[in-house]
């Protein structure tokens, strides 16, 4: 049987991949977004695993909402990306450098 810690290890691995991806990715914003999604996936795994092993649905409900919010986030994120593409002609991380102090 799959144990709780297996899930937790899996989720933490996903989480770390997401996090590392964010920090080493210096080129593409879409990749950034995908890394964020990875983090959320890790969180969801966590919640569901806990929920399952605790016998408590709150975690699953939470996941439901996280998914929704993630979707809304993606919607807005893509919209912003589109805008950025329009004003900049590119969606590389490098182009977001006009704001400096």
């Amino acid at each position: 049987m799959v144990s709780l810690s297996d899930y937790l290890i899996l989720s933490s691995v996903i989480f770390c991949i997401g996090l590392v991806g964010i920090f080493i990715n210096r080129t593409n914003i879409i990749t950034l977004l995908m890394c964020v999604e990875l983090i959320l996936a890790a969180v969801n795994t966590n919640f569901i695993a806990f929920s399952h092993f605790l016998g408590n649905e709150a975690g699953q409900i939470f996941v439901f909402f996280i998914l929704t919010v993630a979707a809304a986030e993606v919607a807005i994120g893509l919209a912003i990306l589109t805008l950025l593409f329009r004003v900049r002609g590119s969606i590389d991380v490098d182009v977001t450098n006009s704001l400096k102090g």
Binding site: L67, T68, A71, A72, V74, A75, L78, T82
Partner: protein, 118 residues
């Protein structure tokens, strides 16, 4: 419970196999005589011009975004739908509020022309 999912895994594997297998067969059986002309991208009879990764209408994005949102609403409605007959009027009112807000958003999109497609 979980063993019910084993067939699913097997079927997905099979599905992938049914994709890969025939192509492999085709690759083995068919001839392979590539030429530059043959391998060039399709164009209506003249040499390809421009970048095929062209800009496309932002409406496609819009549809994608709307899809994400509405699909999620569907996902929210499903659990309710399963048990709605047992929830009684409380469930009805709750989902009404939910759908009402959804509809408000829908009207907003509609009025803003997000659903127009020229």
């Amino acid at each position: 419970m979980l063993e019910n999912y084993l067939p699913i895994v097997v079927f997905i594997m099979l599905g992938l196999g049914f994709g890969a297998g025939p192509m492999l067969i085709g690759y083995l059986l068919g001839p392979s005589k590539p030429s530059e002309e043959k391998n060039s991208q399709f164009e209506c009879g003249f040499p390809a011009f421009g970048d095929s990764r062209m800009y496309f209408n932002v409406r496609y994005y819009l549809v994608a975004i709307l899809f994400i949102l509405f699909d999620l609403e569907v996902a929210f409605v499903f659990p309710w739908a399963v048990v709605q007959s047992q929830l009684g009027w409380f469930g009805f009112i709750a989902i009404s509020i939910f759908l009402f807000i959804l509809v408000v958003g829908f009207i907003f999109e509609w009025k803003n022309g997000a659903l127009e497609w020229e």
